[in-house]
């Protein structure tokens, strides 16, 4: 943006036309407090207009602030270039009109309309709103001071980072990242939760909400659990209800049944009464009938019955004993006759019978074994013969070897092994001998091959010696004889040495081979000696056996050994047969009878029959004695019982005919005795008792009435049918039990119903409330969590972005501020910004120091220069796309002359080449003196605007 002209009809105290040269620094000079800052505000108003919004400006609005006091026109006209285009903005703040023209003079006002009636052309062209524009373009005196606060306390709470951010980070707001983070932190730490009725940290709110939610959840689960647990009581309740109905029905039924029983009992009593009346009449008549036998003893029938019974019993017993005695006599006679036929066994005892039976069994077993062994022996012998051992062969073999001693047999048995061993040892020794011989032969051949050249040398030496001798004696050629002799000696000795060396070739191996040959020869000699001894012993044995040939003897002995092995079963069976024969002979010797088992058994049987008969006869004799002893008292008892029975018959008025059994009269005696007892019973017991049990007439009437009443009640409520009638006591018990059951069921049902109702009521009352409450707390929890998540994310993102921004700012500011400070010529070499936008200062020839320390050390001029450099660098950084003009308000008032000069040179030579610079000042003389010092530079780069002169001119025009 390049500002070209500002015409002010009235803006605060400012009036007149100001022209700017965008290629130079416009130095606006005025007296102090004459409105030089108003110029900057007028430029801003030209681009953005003046707000009259009292909501944003409570005390005084910008429009009110800049309205001329004298009530004159209140308007400005600003001409400027932007993006290669020229614009003219006419704003009449009094009439609230705006007109915007392009370079051709065409009005383009509608292009910049925003909202209802605002035309912020600066925002449209620069992309910055008013506030942003002022922060980027304006460099006010107070801004410089704010870059680094002078007050330490203020500096602590409002660090440079925030200042810089405020000055720079103005794209759409006025908060720095640090401030935004602070706001977010504050919001997170002052979270208001109405449910908790507290303003607390959002984390704490989440914890409390979650805890409360869990608490309610637990309560809900407890309610649901309790409610689920009601299922069983509900089921039980239904069962109890049925039980109650059953108990009620049972009680009614029992009561009805009880009435029925009572009715029956009353009827029974009545019936009994009537029955007794009839019975009494019958009994009295009966008493009259049995009065004839009233005097007979009441136990006459029993006594007669007993006497007659005993009489008959004793008679029967005596007759039975007499029969037995007769039978015993006959049996004894029969046994005596049988014993006479067994007289042959009179001398034998039962032990003899046992012995004969055992001998018969042994004899049968031995006969069987003998047959089996004989058969097996015959088979074994046949088998032996089939294997080539007939009798002749066996006799021949036994003739040869049967007479030999055991050591001789042993020698024959070992003979094959000994022969084999000798042959093996002999072969081994012969092999060693042969190998040694071959080795020796090889060594000899090698020695001969080596000795042959030696012998040649010796021969040549000898020949040369001969030639030398001839030469010395008679030279035949020109070679001296001595030389030939020397050569002859050398060759001869060399040959001799070779011969000697050959004799020592493989000497150790030759000695070893020689030793092996000698050892083998010795072993062969020893084996030969052993074989000779062996042969001698075999020859002696041949003589004993009678076989002339040793090999034949060995073969026969081998056959003999095979015969011995094959014959073993035959020998075994022969031994067994001998044992059987011996046992059989022993039995025959013991029994002395012919060897027939059947005979021995018959003898044993005869002996046993005789013994049995004798025992039987003794038993019969014994029985006969006992029977005679028993019979005598029975006959005496029979007479006694006959006397008793006769007397009783007489008392009853009866007589016994001879031959009539006593018992035949017993029924009549019993009948008459019964009549006597009946008479006594009727007279003393039955008739008096019936007379006592008879009801009186009143009782009879009462019973008849009760029966009628019961029948009516029963008809109204009949009892349930039962399998069997119960007694009144049973019914009373049943009724009591039914009542008890009913009361118990009712009590239990009441308690259970109360419990179920209470459980349901509690569930239905509290569960919905708790669910709603849980949902409410859940929603609050979700809200709090969402808030925390969002704030955390915003915070993280701002922090991340701020770090990046700070880093980039720091790099730019480091370079640019350092460059500017060098040109200004402060005592500062380097200003180094960190990522937190705090900075360190390195003074010339000094060490880096922190910002706080450096600020205290720097002079106010140097400090202003640092601030100006920082401010300019920030403005440059923020306006890199569209270069903004820098509108500077007396920035060197605290600098000394040298630094002010350097600062101006920075603006003139550096900054103004990239930005349009408009500097307003009230220090006319100072800048005139600076211009004098750099007259060429000022002439070339400064455009002077003296507003005091302009004011005078305007005043004159108005006058």
């Amino acid at each position: 943006v390049k500002l070209l002209r500002l015409s002010v009809a009235g803006f605060g105290s400012l009036r007149g036309e100001h022209r700017f040269d965008p290629g130079k620094v416009t130095l606006v000079v005025d007296d102090n407090e004459r409105g030089k800052s108003t110029l900057l505000a007028a430029i801003s108003a030209g681009l953005y207009g003046l707000s009259d919004d009292r909501r944003a400006h409570r005390q005084v609005t910008p429009s009110e602030r800049w309205r001329p006091w004298d009530g004159g026109p209140f308007a400005v006209e600003l001409e400027f270039e932007c993006g290669g285009e020229r614009f003219v903005v006419q704003r009449d703040f009094a009439a609230q009109t705006v007109a915007i023209f392009d370079g051709s003079g065409q009005e383009i006002t509608p292009r910049f309309l925003e909202g209802k009636d605002e035309y912020p052309i600066g925002k449209h062209l620069l992309g910055l709103d008013l506030e942003e524009f002022e922060k980027c373009a304006f460099v006010r005196q107070e801004d410089l001071a704010e870059v680094i606060p002078f007050d330490e306390k203020e500096r602590r709470v409002n660090p440079l980072q925030i200042r810089l951010e405020r000055a720079a980070d103005t794209r759409a707001g006025n908060s720095s990242a640090a401030e935004a983070l602070r706001v977010l932190d504050e919001a997170a730490s002052r979270y208001h939760e109405p449910l908790l009725d507290a303003t607390i940290k959002v984390e704490t709110a989440i914890q409390r909400l979650d805890a409360k939610r869990l608490e309610i959840e637990t309560e809900i689960h407890a309610l649901e659990h309790d409610h689920a647990a009601l299922a069983a009581p509900v089921e039980r309740l239904a069962g109890l209800e049925q039980r109650e109905r059953d108990a009620q029905a049972l009680e009614r039924s029992v009561e009805s049944e009880r009435r029925m029983v009572l009715c029956s009992e009353a009827q029974l009593k009545l019936d009994e009464h009537r029955g007794r009346l009839g019975e009494l009449t019958q009994l009295r008549a009966e008493r009259e009938q049995v009065a004839a036998h009233a005097e007979l003893p009441h136990d006459a029938d029993a006594r007669y019955q007993e006497a007659a019974g005993r009489l008959e019993e004793v008679g029967r017993h005596a007759e039975r004993l007499e029969d037995v005695l007769h039978q015993l006599d006959e049996a004894v006679a029969r046994i005596d006759q049988e014993l006479s036929g067994l007289a042959m066994f009179a001398e034998f005892q039962d032990s003899d019978a046992d012995r004969y039976v055992a001998a018969a069994a042994d004899l049968r077993r031995l006969n069987s074994e003998r047959e089996q062994v004989s058969s097996a022996l015959e088979g074994a012998r046949g088998e032996l013969t089939s294997r080539g051992f007939d009798a002749v062969t066996i006799d021949r073999l036994n003739g040869w070897f049967g007479k030999l001693e055991p050591d001789q047999i042993r020698m024959l048995e070992l003979q094959p092994e000994i022969s084999l061993e000798l042959e093996a040892l002999t072969a081994d020794a012969e092999s060693s001998h042969e190998m040694g011989t071959e080795a020796m032969e090889l060594i000899r051949r090698e020695r001969r091959a080596r000795a042959t050249p030696g012998w040649v040398g010796v021969g040549i030496g000898a020949a040369a010696a001969v030639v030398a001798a001839f030469q010395m004696m008679r030279p035949l050629f020109e070679v001296p004889g001595g030389a030939i002799a020397v050569g002859a000696v050398i060759v001869g000795f060399a040959g001799l040495a070779q011969v000697l060396a050959s004799t020592r070739h493989r000497r150790e191996e030759a000695l070893a081979a020689q030793e092996a040959i000698s050892g083998a020869d010795e072993r062969l000699a020893e084996l030969h000696s052993r074989r000779t001894d062996q042969d001698s012993e075999l020859a002696a044995l041949r003589d004993v056996v009678g076989i002339p040939d040793t090999r034949e003897m060995i073969r026969a002995f081998t056959e003999f050994q095979r015969y011995e092995r094959e014959r073993e079963p035959v020998s075994l069976l022969e031994g067994m047969l001998d044992q059987v024969e011996q046992s059989r002979d022993q039995i025959l010797a013991d029994t002395g009878n012919p060897p027939d088992p059947a005979f021995l058994e018959r003898v044993a049987a005869g002996i046993r029959v005789q013994t049995a008969k004798r025992q039987k006869r003794a038993e019969f004799e014994d029985q006969r004695g006992r029977v005679r002893t028993d019979l005598a008292p029975l006959l005496a008892q029979r007479n006694e019982h006959a006397a008793v029975a006769g007397s009783l018959l007489s008392a009853a008025g009866l007589e016994r005919a001879e031959g009539t059994p006593w018992t035949d009269l017993a029924p009549e005696v019993a009948k008459r005795t019964q009549s006597a007892r009946r008479h006594a019973q009727l007279d003393t017991e039955l008739i008096p008792r019936l007379e006592r049990e008879m009801l009186n007439d009143e009782m009879v009437q009462l019973l008849e009435q009760s029966i009628a009443a019961f029948r009516m009640q029963i008809a109204a409520a009949p009892p349930a049918p039962t399998e069997r009638a119960r007694s009144l006591a049973d019914l009373e018990t049943a009724a009591r039990e039914a009542r008890t059951e009913l009361e118990r069921v009712r009590e239990e049902r009441g308690q259970l119903q109360h419990r179920v109702d209470e459980g349901r009521r509690r569930f239905q009352q509290f569960h919905p409330e708790k669910v709603v409450e849980r949902d409410t707390w859940e929603r609050a929890l979700v809200r709090a969590r969402r808030f925390k998540q969002a704030v955390d994310l915003a915070r993280e993102t701002i922090t991340q972005v701020a770090h990046e921004t700070h880093r980039r700012w720091a790099e730019f500011l480091n370079d640019r501020v350092g460059e500017m400070l060098k040109r200004v010529g402060t005592g500062v070499d380097v200003v180094r910004f960190g990522e937190d936008l705090d900075f360190a200062v390195t003074p010339r020839k000094g060490k880096p120091s922190s910002r706080g320390k450096a600020v205290r050390q720097l002079s106010s001029g140097a400090r202003d220069q640092v601030h100006l450099s920082v401010r300019l660098a920030i403005s440059e950084y923020l306006s890199r796309e569209e270069r903004l003009p820098l509108l500077i308000d007396d920035c060197f008032i605290t600098s000394d002359d040298d630094r002010a000069r350097a600062g101006m040179k920075l603006l003139l030579e550096q900054v103004s080449r990239e930005h349009q610079v408009i500097l307003v000042t009230c220090h006319r003389r100072r800048f005139e003196s600076l211009a004098a010092m750099d007259s060429d530079l000022y002439r070339e780069r400064v455009h002077w605007v003296d507003t005091a002169h302009m004011r005078s001119a305007v005043a004159e025009q108005r006058v």
Binding site: V183, Q753, Q764
Partner: protein
């Protein structure tokens, strides 16, 4: 030709908690539910209908509170009440242990259903004659633990009905979901298709479960008898069903009967660039008036648009007091005055600009709606911190 008339009412959900209402209003709403039932019975008596059909969810849960239960039993004892056929639904399934349905348990407390109320207690189809009419009402109940995918009109279910007497009109009553038409927020239980309805052996089907009324040539949902949720927009009540039969195919005619004394509305209000909370409420009042909302109605107001700079709106102010019986806000589409496009297009290097662009980039690449909403909230809180120098928890209802 004969005509039979039914009053079809369902999904009363008696004893519902109405947890979304304040406690006193929830209690009042529960009383209104009972009043609606009584009003329905009185209407049926006045209109002389032959039977009342209740295809499920008479109660909100399997164990209604005693007060609700006794109120219902009393309601059905109104003199002149026609026969009632109830097919318990998924909210109030029939079981031997249900305090509402089990005659045994009711009797243990000295209660019982009136004789003219028939409750279908079999999950298979069973029938009961309408007294004095050649009409047979078939029904089936839900039972606890019944698979929600059990199809009430599939081949097996149809075959269990058997051969029907052609001289009678056969009407089915059950609780189920017409596939492909399940409203949002409701789950599918006992599904069936229109094709299954067409081949079903019933001339007409009275169906419950969907809370929005829907009629068809051969079946109808009466919808919920009272608005049970703020989302159940419109009038609620019963259906008067008149079926002509005897000559050719039966034909059903429907007459809606409004019983709920309150209507539920859903009003969208554009509050874009509203300069203050007062202006927001002014626009809301304007929309309520335009929508015919009365003071006895329930309203869900959805605010949308970007508020003016620095304006925040979190809920009803005094201007809306007593304007409606119950008001709920949906602030999920309400946004502060931050222009995403401008933030995205800006190329400034300020912390704020880069912060906004970073979160906008993340927002654009984030597929999960929940995370998007969180990122958007973070963006707004950050911008509030930068620009308003003040952050308050006002964006938690925002949805992406």
């Amino acid at each position: 030709l004969a005509t039979v008339q039914f009053l079809q009412i369902s999904d009363l959900h008696l004893g519902a908690r109405f947890g979304w209402l304040p406690r006193d209003r929830a209690e009042l709403r529960r009383r209104e539910q009972i009043a609606v039932l009584r009003k329905a019975i009185e209407h049926a008596i006045a209109r002389g209908v032959h039977a009342i059909l209740i295809p499920g969810d008479l109660f909100d849960r399997a164990e209604p509170d005693p007060e609700t239960l006794t109120s219902v039993l009393d309601a059905f004892r109104i003199a002149g009440c026609p026969p009632v056929f109830i097919a318990p639904g998924n909210h109030d399934p029939w079981s031997e242990n249900s305090p509402a349905w089990s005659a045994r348990l009711l009797e243990s407390r000295g209660w019982s259903w009136p004789e003219h109320v028939h409750i279908f207690s079999d999950p298979r189809w069973s029938a009961r004659q309408v007294p004095g009419m050649p009409v047979r009402v078939w029904g089936r109940c839900f039972t606890p633990g019944m698979a929600s995918t059990t199809r009430p009109l599939d081949g097996e279910a149809r075959s269990s009905v058997g051969m029907l007497a052609p001289t009678e009109l056969h009407v089915g009553v059950f609780h189920g979901s017409l596939e492909t038409r399940c409203p949002p927020g409701q789950k599918v239980i006992g599904p069936f298709s229109e094709e299954e309805v067409r081949i079903a052996p019933f001339a007409y089907l009275a169906i419950g479960h969907y809370h929005r009324a829907h009629t068809h040539e051969h079946f109808a949902y009466a919808g919920s008898a009272v608005g049970l949720d703020i989302g159940e927009v419109g009038a609620h009540g019963a259906l008067e069903v008149s079926i002509e039969f005897g000559a050719g195919p039966a034909r059903a005619n429907f007459t809606p009967v409004v019983l709920d004394p309150r209507r539920t509305h859903h009003v969208e209000v554009d509050v874009a660039r509203a300069a203050s909370a007062e202006e927001v409420e002014s626009r809301i009042l304007q929309s309520l008036g335009a929508g015919g909302v009365t003071e006895s109605d329930l309203v869900k107001v959805a605010l949308r648009g970007r508020l003016g700079h620095g304006v925040r709106y979190t809920g009803a102010g005094p201007a809306l007091d007593n304007r409606v019986w119950h008001l709920r806000f949906d602030l999920s589409a309400l946004r502060p005055d931050y222009d995403f496009e401008a933030l995205r297009a800006a190329s400034d290097e300020t912390t704020e600009g880069r912060f906004a662009r970073l979160l906008l980039e993340r927002l654009e690449g984030e597929p999960d709606p929940e995370t998007r909403a969180m990122v958007e909230r973070a963006l707004y809180y950050g911008l509030d911190a930068f620009r308003l120098n003040d952050v308050a928890p006002v964006y938690e209802e925002l949805k992406s």
